[in-house]
Symmetry: C2
Subunit: 302 residues, 2 copies
């Protein structure tokens, strides 16, 4: 008999969720406002209601941004989820849903999205890939031998590989991280510095379109941003001999305009002429990758 799981991708402004069978058939999807203003206990109440409204399931997986104790299902720190630092999400949701605690799984959101893309998205059937989320920041999830590889919890953090020790300061405090050079935020800063209009996040879509249409300043800008991203991926090729990179997140819509630069950057920071064999794919699950991956994590662990 087919088992069903519920996955939730909990962000600061939305909880995306769905119910799915272990063979990947999506039975329901729903997005709610988690309402963080009412405090973390009320958020957990709403997530448990969501679980029931979707029809319930044999297990529940939840992806959250931040640093976790994944074993115990406790959020250690989460700057984006008010009140969640220190929260025992596993016990809280188990109690509210009636699931045994071992059927509730808490995972980092970027890792969950990576699992989702490898299961049903761009990486379907693949064993090894780095899934890079290009948004206001840059996150990542690493899959090796078909398994999520998160080390003690912070694996796949491609965003903080240093590309240029003399580069701009990153939010993490270091200089020249990939995130400080190639995130959507960094792209807008670089566009403005180049005299191109990029006051609003949506402007990046227009800049990418102009690059596509052959306008030189936009094309060169995207190439440079891509090159720094590729330089950040070089160590993954050196350390892991990894050939598949999947890009999700809002800025991944510009992947076609970044690709030439990404390949140059990888070539520059790896060796053995492997850059040509590297595959760069755009994620295909969009904003559903997180909840689908969270559900998959629950299946894998169950």
């Amino acid at each position: 008999m087919s088992s069903t799981q519920v996955g939730i991708d909990l962000g600061g402004t939305a909880a995306k969720s769905g119910r799915i069978t272990h063979t990947g058939e999506i039975l329901a999807e729903k997005t709610i406002d988690p309402g963080f203003a009412d405090g973390p206990e009320r958020v957990l109440d709403r997530l448990a209601d969501l679980f029931r409204e979707l029809g319930g399931g044999d297990a529940l997986g939840i992806g959250v941004p931040g640093l976790l104790d994944r074993e115990r299902g406790i959020v250690l720190t989460s700057p984006n989820l008010p009140g969640f630092s220190g929260l025992d999400v596993k016990s809280g949701l188990a109690r509210r849903t009636g699931l045994p605690p071992e059927r509730v799984h808490v995972e980092n959101d970027a890792n969950a999205a990576a699992v989702g893309e490898l299961w049903l998205g761009a990486g379907r059937g693949e064993r090894d890939a780095l899934v890079v989320t290009l948004g206001t920041g840059i996150g990542g999830g690493l899959i090796l031998n078909g398994q999520l590889h998160a080390g003690e919890g912070l694996g796949g953090e491609i965003g903080h590989v240093v590309v240029d020790p003399r580069g701009p300061r990153c939010g993490c405090g270091k200089l020249g991280c990939v995130e400080a050079l190639s995130s959507a935020t960094a792209a807008r800063r670089r566009a403005l510095a180049a005299g191109l209009p990029a006051e609003h996040p949506g402007d990046l879509v227009l800049l990418a379109q102009r690059a596509r249409d052959g306008h030189a300043p936009e094309r060169e800008l995207m190439r440079e941003i891509g090159r720094d991203l590729g330089r950040g991926l070089g160590p993954a090729l050196c350390l892991l001999d990894l050939r598949l990179y999947i890009f999700g997140g809002g800025f991944s819509g510009a992947l076609d305009t970044l690709e030439a630069g990404i390949r140059e950057g990888i070539e520059e920071r790896s060796f053995g002429g492997r850059a040509a064999s590297v595959r760069l794919l755009r994620a295909t699950l969009g904003p559903s990758a997180g909840w689908i991956g969270a559900a998959r994590v629950a299946i894998a662990a169950g």
Copy 2:
């Protein structure tokens, strides 16, 4: 009943070998001159003789420097083994020893050494580690979840992670690779540039001793070399959240003088305050790591 394996670590000037049980009991060890001047077929003859002289075994593992087709047991390119590029080592040794081909395993030498150190050396009982060989160059082998992770064959190549894109040129053609900054060769070059005596490889031992004895120029030199090495390890922490690094090779005798710098470099190129939790160990199997690991690879595959 206990099965026994023979491992060989084939280098340009010596073939180190031994016979070992699957539980790690060393039954015999022997080192010979492979005699590359007589051509690759004669080298394989000698290695088969060596297998017999050691007492034979249920399987044979051999580590070779270079790029391999590990599945088929063919050396693709090996600058250090004259005549071996393109050689079908698996078939050649199977025919000569009478072993079925599926019992002969060919592995990259740095990978084999990593497997050896995790099995019986400094990484005994560990699941995840990067084993770094500090010699005239810098090689590496990556173990994740207790398994060698070589990707399509070139994994663990920490030596070619770029630390400083404005740094000195590496043998691979790029600028500022770890190998160009922190190998024994680079260390001697940097010592000479600092006005310290380092004409001969053995001089590094004296420089390390003077650093240990508190002489400021040597101490600062070792710290700087260590710092660049640590900067190269930073991406491994970002990508893999890897906390254990084991150092072998001739220059690893200076690890105690490099350590402060290594930790500074890791801290500088990672985030989350994890540098303090990183363990830096010196390899304990010395020149036997390669053949022991090669034998272990044969056991694992058998």
